[in-house]
Symmetry: C2
Subunit: 257 residues, 2 copies
Protein backbone atom coordinates (compact mmCIF):
# COMPACT_ATOMS: atom_id res chain seq x y z
CA UNK A 1 0.00 0.00 0.00
CA UNK A 2 1.52 3.26 -1.14
CA UNK A 3 2.00 5.64 1.75
CA UNK A 4 1.26 8.77 -0.25
CA UNK A 5 -2.23 7.70 -1.21
CA UNK A 6 -4.67 10.04 0.53
CA UNK A 7 -6.94 8.69 3.26
CA UNK A 8 -10.48 9.34 2.03
CA UNK A 9 -13.49 9.23 4.38
CA UNK A 10 -16.83 8.66 2.66
CA UNK A 11 -20.27 9.33 4.12
CA UNK A 12 -23.73 10.25 2.84
CA UNK A 13 -27.31 10.85 3.92
CA UNK A 14 -29.17 8.19 1.94
CA UNK A 15 -27.64 5.46 4.09
CA UNK A 16 -24.92 2.85 3.73
CA UNK A 17 -26.91 0.73 1.22
CA UNK A 18 -27.66 3.53 -1.25
CA UNK A 19 -26.39 3.04 -4.83
CA UNK A 20 -24.97 6.58 -4.74
CA UNK A 21 -22.42 5.80 -2.02
CA UNK A 22 -21.38 2.64 -3.87
CA UNK A 23 -20.64 4.80 -6.93
CA UNK A 24 -18.50 7.06 -4.74
CA UNK A 25 -16.58 4.12 -3.25
CA UNK A 26 -15.89 2.82 -6.78
CA UNK A 27 -14.33 6.12 -7.79
CA UNK A 28 -12.46 6.93 -4.58
CA UNK A 29 -10.82 3.47 -4.38
CA UNK A 30 -8.82 4.55 -7.44
CA UNK A 31 -7.69 7.79 -5.80
CA UNK A 32 -6.85 6.79 -2.26
CA UNK A 33 -7.40 4.54 0.74
CA UNK A 34 -11.08 4.53 1.55
CA UNK A 35 -12.94 4.26 4.85
CA UNK A 36 -16.75 4.50 4.87
CA UNK A 37 -18.85 5.60 7.86
CA UNK A 38 -22.44 6.20 6.81
CA UNK A 39 -25.89 6.26 8.41
CA UNK A 40 -27.66 2.91 8.86
CA UNK A 41 -30.90 4.43 7.53
CA UNK A 42 -31.93 7.32 5.26
CA UNK A 43 -31.23 10.76 6.74
CA UNK A 44 -32.42 13.06 3.96
CA UNK A 45 -33.49 16.48 5.14
CA UNK A 46 -31.54 16.17 8.38
CA UNK A 47 -29.74 19.48 7.85
CA UNK A 48 -26.89 19.87 10.30
CA UNK A 49 -28.53 17.79 13.01
CA UNK A 50 -26.39 16.06 15.63
CA UNK A 51 -27.53 13.50 18.18
CA UNK A 52 -27.32 14.60 21.80
CA UNK A 53 -30.40 13.05 23.40
CA UNK A 54 -29.53 9.41 22.77
CA UNK A 55 -26.38 7.36 22.34
CA UNK A 56 -25.05 6.16 18.99
CA UNK A 57 -24.28 2.72 17.62
CA UNK A 58 -21.33 2.09 15.31
CA UNK A 59 -21.13 -1.29 13.57
CA UNK A 60 -18.42 -2.61 11.25
CA UNK A 61 -19.79 -4.17 8.10
CA UNK A 62 -18.66 -5.68 4.83
CA UNK A 63 -20.87 -3.60 2.58
CA UNK A 64 -18.19 -2.83 -0.02
CA UNK A 65 -16.20 -6.05 0.09
CA UNK A 66 -13.12 -6.98 2.11
CA UNK A 67 -10.85 -4.28 0.68
CA UNK A 68 -12.88 -1.32 2.01
CA UNK A 69 -13.18 -0.67 5.75
CA UNK A 70 -16.82 0.20 6.31
CA UNK A 71 -19.15 1.04 9.21
CA UNK A 72 -22.76 2.01 9.64
CA UNK A 73 -23.84 4.36 12.40
CA UNK A 74 -27.24 5.03 13.97
CA UNK A 75 -26.69 8.79 13.88
CA UNK A 76 -27.00 11.66 11.44
CA UNK A 77 -24.50 12.42 8.64
CA UNK A 78 -22.75 14.98 10.89
CA UNK A 79 -22.58 12.35 13.68
CA UNK A 80 -20.99 9.91 11.21
CA UNK A 81 -18.16 12.30 10.42
CA UNK A 82 -17.58 13.08 14.10
CA UNK A 83 -17.46 9.45 15.18
CA UNK A 84 -15.34 8.48 12.17
CA UNK A 85 -12.66 10.99 13.11
CA UNK A 86 -12.71 10.20 16.83
CA UNK A 87 -13.36 6.46 16.99
CA UNK A 88 -12.51 4.93 13.59
CA UNK A 89 -9.66 6.88 11.99
CA UNK A 90 -8.20 8.41 15.17
CA UNK A 91 -7.01 11.25 12.97
CA UNK A 92 -8.36 13.67 10.38
CA UNK A 93 -8.68 12.09 6.92
CA UNK A 94 -6.99 13.86 4.00
CA UNK A 95 -10.31 14.18 2.23
CA UNK A 96 -13.99 13.75 3.01
CA UNK A 97 -16.42 12.91 0.23
CA UNK A 98 -20.15 12.90 0.97
CA UNK A 99 -22.71 11.33 -1.37
CA UNK A 100 -23.32 10.88 -4.10
CA UNK A 101 -26.74 12.02 -3.01
CA UNK A 102 -29.87 10.92 -4.83
CA UNK A 103 -31.52 14.33 -5.32
CA UNK A 104 -30.54 17.97 -5.49
CA UNK A 105 -28.28 19.99 -3.20
CA UNK A 106 -28.49 23.11 -5.33
CA UNK A 107 -29.45 26.58 -4.09
CA UNK A 108 -31.26 26.62 -0.72
CA UNK A 109 -31.25 22.81 -0.53
CA UNK A 110 -27.71 22.96 0.83
CA UNK A 111 -29.25 24.09 4.14
CA UNK A 112 -31.62 21.11 4.41
CA UNK A 113 -29.18 18.57 3.02
CA UNK A 114 -27.79 15.78 5.14
CA UNK A 115 -25.19 15.11 2.43
CA UNK A 116 -23.87 18.64 2.69
CA UNK A 117 -24.01 18.59 6.49
CA UNK A 118 -21.51 15.69 6.51
CA UNK A 119 -19.23 17.68 4.19
CA UNK A 120 -19.71 20.83 6.23
CA UNK A 121 -18.95 19.03 9.50
CA UNK A 122 -15.68 17.93 7.91
CA UNK A 123 -14.87 21.46 6.75
CA UNK A 124 -15.58 22.88 10.22
CA UNK A 125 -13.06 20.38 11.58
CA UNK A 126 -10.49 21.49 9.00
CA UNK A 127 -10.91 18.57 6.58
CA UNK A 128 -10.96 19.16 2.82
CA UNK A 129 -14.53 18.21 1.92
CA UNK A 130 -16.82 17.76 -1.08
CA UNK A 131 -20.50 16.87 -1.34
CA UNK A 132 -21.77 15.34 -4.59
CA UNK A 133 -25.36 15.03 -5.73
CA UNK A 134 -27.08 13.69 -8.82
CA UNK A 135 -30.37 15.48 -9.47
CA UNK A 136 -32.34 12.25 -9.64
CA UNK A 137 -34.24 11.08 -6.55
CA UNK A 138 -34.82 7.53 -7.78
CA UNK A 139 -33.02 4.64 -6.11
CA UNK A 140 -31.98 3.22 -9.50
CA UNK A 141 -30.54 6.52 -10.74
CA UNK A 142 -27.74 6.20 -13.31
CA UNK A 143 -24.46 7.36 -11.76
CA UNK A 144 -22.36 6.96 -14.95
CA UNK A 145 -21.86 10.69 -15.55
CA UNK A 146 -21.64 11.38 -11.82
CA UNK A 147 -18.69 9.00 -11.52
CA UNK A 148 -16.83 10.72 -14.35
CA UNK A 149 -17.19 14.19 -12.82
CA UNK A 150 -16.64 12.90 -9.29
CA UNK A 151 -13.24 11.59 -10.39
CA UNK A 152 -12.30 14.73 -12.35
CA UNK A 153 -13.26 17.17 -9.59
CA UNK A 154 -11.81 15.09 -6.74
CA UNK A 155 -8.48 14.83 -8.59
CA UNK A 156 -8.44 18.62 -8.85
CA UNK A 157 -9.21 18.97 -5.15
CA UNK A 158 -6.47 16.52 -4.17
CA UNK A 159 -4.00 18.41 -6.37
CA UNK A 160 -5.01 22.01 -5.59
CA UNK A 161 -6.64 21.81 -2.16
CA UNK A 162 -9.50 24.17 -1.38
CA UNK A 163 -9.50 27.81 -0.23
CA UNK A 164 -9.48 28.10 3.60
CA UNK A 165 -12.80 27.36 5.36
CA UNK A 166 -14.43 26.42 2.06
CA UNK A 167 -16.03 23.16 0.97
CA UNK A 168 -17.55 22.20 -2.36
CA UNK A 169 -21.13 21.40 -3.29
CA UNK A 170 -21.26 19.68 -6.67
CA UNK A 171 -24.50 18.84 -8.48
CA UNK A 172 -24.63 16.70 -11.60
CA UNK A 173 -27.60 17.18 -13.93
CA UNK A 174 -29.68 14.10 -14.66
CA UNK A 175 -28.80 13.86 -18.37
CA UNK A 176 -26.56 11.49 -20.35
CA UNK A 177 -22.80 12.02 -20.01
CA UNK A 178 -22.40 13.06 -23.65
CA UNK A 179 -24.93 15.89 -23.18
CA UNK A 180 -23.11 17.47 -20.23
CA UNK A 181 -21.38 20.65 -21.38
CA UNK A 182 -18.80 20.88 -18.60
CA UNK A 183 -18.38 22.18 -15.05
CA UNK A 184 -19.50 25.66 -14.03
CA UNK A 185 -18.36 27.40 -10.83
CA UNK A 186 -21.52 29.01 -9.46
CA UNK A 187 -23.12 30.82 -6.61
CA UNK A 188 -26.14 29.41 -4.77
CA UNK A 189 -29.36 30.55 -6.47
CA UNK A 190 -31.85 32.46 -4.33
CA UNK A 191 -34.76 30.05 -4.09
CA UNK A 192 -37.09 28.56 -1.51
CA UNK A 193 -39.59 25.81 -0.93
CA UNK A 194 -43.20 26.89 -0.67
CA UNK A 195 -44.66 24.33 1.68
CA UNK A 196 -47.96 22.62 1.03
CA UNK A 197 -48.90 20.30 3.88
CA UNK A 198 -50.97 17.33 2.80
CA UNK A 199 -53.56 16.99 5.57
CA UNK A 200 -55.06 13.53 6.23
CA UNK A 201 -57.15 11.87 8.91
CA UNK A 202 -55.99 8.71 10.67
CA UNK A 203 -58.30 5.75 11.40
CA UNK A 204 -58.87 7.23 14.88
CA UNK A 205 -60.22 10.53 13.56
CA UNK A 206 -57.13 12.62 14.25
CA UNK A 207 -55.42 14.82 11.66
CA UNK A 208 -51.84 14.37 10.51
CA UNK A 209 -49.76 16.22 7.94
CA UNK A 210 -47.19 15.29 5.31
CA UNK A 211 -44.67 18.00 4.51
CA UNK A 212 -44.56 18.60 0.77
CA UNK A 213 -43.47 21.67 -1.11
CA UNK A 214 -42.93 23.38 -4.40
CA UNK A 215 -39.44 24.58 -5.27
CA UNK A 216 -39.52 28.23 -6.31
CA UNK A 217 -36.48 29.84 -7.93
CA UNK A 218 -36.61 33.63 -7.58
CA UNK A 219 -33.17 34.08 -9.16
CA UNK A 220 -32.72 34.93 -12.84
CA UNK A 221 -28.91 35.06 -12.59
CA UNK A 222 -26.87 33.07 -15.11
CA UNK A 223 -24.09 32.60 -12.56
CA UNK A 224 -26.24 30.37 -10.32
CA UNK A 225 -26.26 26.62 -9.77
CA UNK A 226 -29.89 26.40 -10.89
CA UNK A 227 -29.03 28.05 -14.21
CA UNK A 228 -26.03 25.77 -14.73
CA UNK A 229 -28.05 22.60 -14.08
CA UNK A 230 -30.94 23.73 -16.28
CA UNK A 231 -28.45 24.40 -19.08
CA UNK A 232 -26.60 21.11 -19.02
CA UNK A 233 -23.65 21.96 -16.79
CA UNK A 234 -22.33 20.36 -13.63
CA UNK A 235 -22.62 23.05 -10.91
CA UNK A 236 -19.79 23.56 -8.43
CA UNK A 237 -20.50 25.97 -5.55
CA UNK A 238 -17.89 26.91 -2.95
CA UNK A 239 -19.67 26.82 0.42
CA UNK A 240 -18.75 28.47 3.73
CA UNK A 241 -19.81 27.89 7.32
CA UNK A 242 -19.34 31.46 8.54
CA UNK A 243 -22.98 32.53 8.44
CA UNK A 244 -22.29 36.16 9.41
CA UNK A 245 -24.01 38.63 7.08
CA UNK A 246 -20.98 40.92 7.20
CA UNK A 247 -22.59 43.52 4.92
CA UNK A 248 -25.40 44.04 7.45
CA UNK A 249 -23.15 45.00 10.38
CA UNK A 250 -22.99 48.78 9.65
CA UNK A 251 -26.82 48.99 9.45
CA UNK A 252 -27.24 47.29 12.82
CA UNK A 253 -24.59 49.52 14.35
CA UNK A 254 -26.80 52.52 13.55
CA UNK A 255 -29.58 51.23 15.85
CA UNK A 256 -30.33 52.82 19.21
CA UNK A 257 -29.40 50.02 21.63
CA UNK B 1 -57.73 44.43 19.27
CA UNK B 2 -55.68 47.06 17.49
CA UNK B 3 -55.19 46.19 13.84
CA UNK B 4 -51.70 47.62 13.61
CA UNK B 5 -50.24 45.35 16.25
CA UNK B 6 -47.79 43.01 14.49
CA UNK B 7 -48.57 39.30 14.27
CA UNK B 8 -45.70 37.54 16.05
CA UNK B 9 -45.02 33.82 15.60
CA UNK B 10 -42.98 32.22 18.38
CA UNK B 11 -41.16 28.89 18.22
CA UNK B 12 -38.11 27.31 19.83
CA UNK B 13 -36.10 24.09 20.03
CA UNK B 14 -36.35 23.25 23.73
CA UNK B 15 -40.04 22.42 23.32
CA UNK B 16 -43.35 24.04 24.18
CA UNK B 17 -42.93 23.58 27.96
CA UNK B 18 -39.49 25.21 28.26
CA UNK B 19 -39.24 28.24 30.58
CA UNK B 20 -37.37 30.10 27.84
CA UNK B 21 -40.35 30.18 25.47
CA UNK B 22 -42.62 31.32 28.30
CA UNK B 23 -40.27 34.27 28.84
CA UNK B 24 -40.55 35.10 25.14
CA UNK B 25 -44.35 34.91 25.19
CA UNK B 26 -44.40 37.26 28.20
CA UNK B 27 -42.38 39.87 26.31
CA UNK B 28 -43.99 39.52 22.89
CA UNK B 29 -47.56 39.78 24.25
CA UNK B 30 -46.69 43.41 24.99
CA UNK B 31 -45.48 44.06 21.45
CA UNK B 32 -48.02 42.30 19.26
CA UNK B 33 -50.53 39.49 18.75
CA UNK B 34 -48.81 36.22 19.56
CA UNK B 35 -49.23 32.73 18.10
CA UNK B 36 -46.99 29.90 19.34
CA UNK B 37 -46.13 26.76 17.36
CA UNK B 38 -43.34 24.86 19.07
CA UNK B 39 -42.01 21.28 19.17
CA UNK B 40 -43.72 18.87 21.55
CA UNK B 41 -40.32 17.61 22.76
CA UNK B 42 -36.74 18.95 22.97
CA UNK B 43 -35.09 19.40 19.57
CA UNK B 44 -31.68 20.77 20.53
CA UNK B 45 -28.95 20.08 18.01
CA UNK B 46 -31.45 19.49 15.22
CA UNK B 47 -29.75 21.97 12.90
CA UNK B 48 -31.91 22.69 9.89
CA UNK B 49 -33.60 19.29 9.87
CA UNK B 50 -37.03 18.88 8.29
CA UNK B 51 -39.28 15.83 8.52
CA UNK B 52 -39.92 14.05 5.23
CA UNK B 53 -40.00 10.37 6.22
CA UNK B 54 -42.97 10.53 8.56
CA UNK B 55 -46.10 12.67 8.96
CA UNK B 56 -46.46 15.43 11.53
CA UNK B 57 -48.97 16.01 14.31
CA UNK B 58 -50.17 19.48 15.23
CA UNK B 59 -52.18 19.88 18.44
CA UNK B 60 -53.78 23.01 19.87
CA UNK B 61 -53.05 23.54 23.55
CA UNK B 62 -53.59 26.02 26.33
CA UNK B 63 -49.98 26.24 27.43
CA UNK B 64 -49.90 30.03 27.79
CA UNK B 65 -53.44 30.70 28.94
CA UNK B 66 -56.57 31.55 26.97
CA UNK B 67 -55.24 34.79 25.46
CA UNK B 68 -52.40 33.17 23.47
CA UNK B 69 -53.14 30.79 20.58
CA UNK B 70 -50.71 27.93 21.01
CA UNK B 71 -49.90 24.60 19.32
CA UNK B 72 -47.36 21.85 19.77
CA UNK B 73 -46.03 19.93 16.80
CA UNK B 74 -44.26 16.58 16.56
CA UNK B 75 -41.68 17.96 14.10
CA UNK B 76 -38.45 19.91 14.18
CA UNK B 77 -38.21 23.68 14.74
CA UNK B 78 -38.07 24.26 10.95
CA UNK B 79 -41.17 22.04 10.54
CA UNK B 80 -42.96 24.14 13.18
CA UNK B 81 -42.42 27.34 11.21
CA UNK B 82 -43.50 25.71 7.94
CA UNK B 83 -46.70 24.25 9.38
CA UNK B 84 -47.46 27.47 11.29
CA UNK B 85 -47.39 29.53 8.10
CA UNK B 86 -49.33 27.01 6.00
CA UNK B 87 -51.88 25.53 8.44
CA UNK B 88 -52.21 27.87 11.44
CA UNK B 89 -51.69 31.46 10.29
CA UNK B 90 -52.52 31.00 6.59
CA UNK B 91 -50.21 33.93 5.95
CA UNK B 92 -46.70 35.09 6.79
CA UNK B 93 -46.44 36.57 10.29
CA UNK B 94 -44.93 40.05 10.62
CA UNK B 95 -42.23 38.73 12.88
CA UNK B 96 -40.83 35.37 13.96
CA UNK B 97 -39.10 35.04 17.32
CA UNK B 98 -37.35 31.78 18.20
CA UNK B 99 -36.28 30.88 21.72
CA UNK B 100 -35.27 32.01 24.13
CA UNK B 101 -32.96 29.03 23.94
CA UNK B 102 -31.41 27.53 27.05
CA UNK B 103 -27.76 27.42 25.92
CA UNK B 104 -25.49 29.15 23.44
CA UNK B 105 -26.05 29.94 19.77
CA UNK B 106 -22.79 31.84 19.42
CA UNK B 107 -20.12 31.21 16.78
CA UNK B 108 -20.35 27.79 15.06
CA UNK B 109 -23.30 26.77 17.27
CA UNK B 110 -25.62 28.63 14.92
CA UNK B 111 -25.17 25.72 12.48
CA UNK B 112 -26.21 23.04 14.99
CA UNK B 113 -28.92 25.11 16.62
CA UNK B 114 -32.58 24.18 16.34
CA UNK B 115 -33.50 27.63 17.68
CA UNK B 116 -31.65 29.33 14.85
CA UNK B 117 -33.03 26.89 12.27
CA UNK B 118 -36.56 28.04 13.11
CA UNK B 119 -35.47 31.67 12.68
CA UNK B 120 -33.58 30.81 9.49
CA UNK B 121 -36.57 28.95 8.02
CA UNK B 122 -38.58 32.12 8.60
CA UNK B 123 -35.94 34.30 6.94
CA UNK B 124 -35.78 31.98 3.91
CA UNK B 125 -39.53 32.44 3.58
CA UNK B 126 -39.15 36.21 3.75
CA UNK B 127 -40.21 36.68 7.37
CA UNK B 128 -38.35 39.09 9.66
CA UNK B 129 -36.77 36.72 12.19
CA UNK B 130 -34.76 36.73 15.40
CA UNK B 131 -33.32 33.89 17.49
CA UNK B 132 -32.58 34.57 21.17
CA UNK B 133 -30.43 32.48 23.48
CA UNK B 134 -29.36 32.75 27.11
CA UNK B 135 -25.98 31.12 27.69
CA UNK B 136 -27.26 28.94 30.51
CA UNK B 137 -28.25 25.35 29.78
CA UNK B 138 -30.17 24.79 33.01
CA UNK B 139 -33.94 24.41 32.95
CA UNK B 140 -34.30 26.93 35.81
CA UNK B 141 -32.15 29.57 34.11
CA UNK B 142 -32.96 33.17 35.08
CA UNK B 143 -34.45 34.97 32.06
CA UNK B 144 -34.73 38.41 33.75
CA UNK B 145 -31.98 40.07 31.71
CA UNK B 146 -32.95 38.13 28.61
CA UNK B 147 -36.47 39.58 28.75
CA UNK B 148 -35.14 43.13 29.00
CA UNK B 149 -32.89 42.75 25.93
CA UNK B 150 -35.47 40.71 24.05
CA UNK B 151 -37.89 43.63 24.36
CA UNK B 152 -35.32 46.28 23.47
CA UNK B 153 -34.00 44.47 20.40
CA UNK B 154 -37.39 43.32 19.14
CA UNK B 155 -38.73 46.88 19.36
CA UNK B 156 -35.80 48.00 17.21
CA UNK B 157 -36.49 45.24 14.69
CA UNK B 158 -40.19 46.12 14.50
CA UNK B 159 -39.29 49.76 13.97
CA UNK B 160 -36.32 49.40 11.59
CA UNK B 161 -36.86 46.03 9.90
CA UNK B 162 -33.81 43.97 8.98
CA UNK B 163 -31.50 44.16 5.95
CA UNK B 164 -32.72 41.90 3.08
CA UNK B 165 -32.11 38.16 3.53
CA UNK B 166 -30.71 38.71 7.01
CA UNK B 167 -31.89 37.39 10.37
CA UNK B 168 -30.55 38.05 13.86
CA UNK B 169 -28.87 35.72 16.32
CA UNK B 170 -28.83 37.27 19.78
CA UNK B 171 -27.02 35.74 22.76
CA UNK B 172 -27.41 37.02 26.30
CA UNK B 173 -24.56 36.33 28.72
CA UNK B 174 -25.47 34.48 31.90
CA UNK B 175 -24.75 37.33 34.30
CA UNK B 176 -27.02 39.67 36.31
CA UNK B 177 -28.79 42.42 34.36
CA UNK B 178 -26.88 45.18 36.12
CA UNK B 179 -23.55 43.70 35.00
CA UNK B 180 -24.46 43.65 31.29
CA UNK B 181 -22.57 46.43 29.51
CA UNK B 182 -24.83 46.71 26.47
CA UNK B 183 -25.40 45.17 23.04
CA UNK B 184 -22.55 44.56 20.61
CA UNK B 185 -23.05 43.89 16.89
CA UNK B 186 -20.62 41.06 16.11
CA UNK B 187 -19.43 38.54 13.60
CA UNK B 188 -19.54 34.81 14.30
CA UNK B 189 -16.29 33.71 15.99
CA UNK B 190 -14.30 30.99 14.24
CA UNK B 191 -14.62 28.07 16.61
CA UNK B 192 -15.44 24.38 16.58
CA UNK B 193 -16.37 21.48 18.79
CA UNK B 194 -13.67 18.87 19.29
CA UNK B 195 -15.67 15.72 19.77
CA UNK B 196 -14.93 13.20 22.48
CA UNK B 197 -17.24 10.20 22.26
CA UNK B 198 -17.93 8.59 25.60
CA UNK B 199 -17.81 4.86 24.84
CA UNK B 200 -19.85 2.48 27.05
CA UNK B 201 -20.96 -1.13 26.95
CA UNK B 202 -24.61 -2.10 27.22
CA UNK B 203 -25.85 -5.03 29.38
CA UNK B 204 -25.71 -7.23 26.25
CA UNK B 205 -22.00 -6.63 25.64
CA UNK B 206 -22.38 -4.20 22.75
CA UNK B 207 -20.69 -0.79 22.59
CA UNK B 208 -22.54 2.49 22.35
CA UNK B 209 -21.34 6.07 22.24
CA UNK B 210 -22.46 9.39 23.70
CA UNK B 211 -21.48 12.43 21.66
CA UNK B 212 -19.71 14.94 23.87
CA UNK B 213 -17.30 17.65 22.88
CA UNK B 214 -15.08 20.49 23.94
CA UNK B 215 -15.76 23.94 22.52
CA UNK B 216 -12.59 25.41 21.05
CA UNK B 217 -12.42 29.07 20.07
CA UNK B 218 -9.62 29.69 17.55
CA UNK B 219 -10.57 33.35 17.11
CA UNK B 220 -8.81 36.14 18.99
CA UNK B 221 -10.87 38.91 17.33
CA UNK B 222 -12.55 41.48 19.57
CA UNK B 223 -15.36 41.89 17.03
CA UNK B 224 -16.72 38.37 17.63
CA UNK B 225 -19.73 37.10 19.55
CA UNK B 226 -17.50 35.01 21.80
CA UNK B 227 -15.49 38.08 22.80
CA UNK B 228 -18.65 40.10 23.45
CA UNK B 229 -20.18 37.41 25.68
CA UNK B 230 -16.94 36.85 27.59
CA UNK B 231 -16.74 40.60 28.21
CA UNK B 232 -20.25 41.17 29.53
CA UNK B 233 -22.06 42.22 26.33
CA UNK B 234 -25.14 40.88 24.62
CA UNK B 235 -23.97 39.67 21.19
CA UNK B 236 -26.06 40.40 18.08
CA UNK B 237 -24.92 38.69 14.87
CA UNK B 238 -26.61 39.29 11.51
CA UNK B 239 -26.95 35.86 9.87
CA UNK B 240 -27.45 34.94 6.21
CA UNK B 241 -28.61 31.80 4.43
CA UNK B 242 -26.65 32.27 1.22
CA UNK B 243 -23.81 29.86 2.00
CA UNK B 244 -21.83 30.65 -1.16
CA UNK B 245 -18.17 31.40 -0.41
CA UNK B 246 -18.13 34.16 -3.04
CA UNK B 247 -14.46 34.98 -2.42
CA UNK B 248 -13.46 31.44 -3.47
CA UNK B 249 -15.05 31.58 -6.93
CA UNK B 250 -12.03 33.05 -8.79
CA UNK B 251 -9.72 30.37 -7.36
CA UNK B 252 -12.01 27.57 -8.51
CA UNK B 253 -12.34 29.16 -11.94
CA UNK B 254 -8.59 28.71 -12.41
CA UNK B 255 -8.91 24.91 -12.19
CA UNK B 256 -8.54 22.66 -15.23
CA UNK B 257 -12.03 21.19 -15.55
Amino acid sequence: MSTNRPLILISNDDGITAPGILATVDVMKKLGNVVVVAPDSPQSGMGHAITINKPLRLVKNNQFGPEVESYHCSGTPADCVKIAVDKVLHRKPDLLVSGANHGSNSSINVIYSGTMSAAMEGAIEGITAIGFSLTDFSWDADFTATKVFMEKITKNVIQNGLPTDTLLSVNIPNIPLEDIKGVKVCRQAKAKWVEEFDQRRDPYGRDYYWLTGKFTNMDKGEDTDEWALANGFVSMVPVQFDLTAHHAIPTLNSWDL
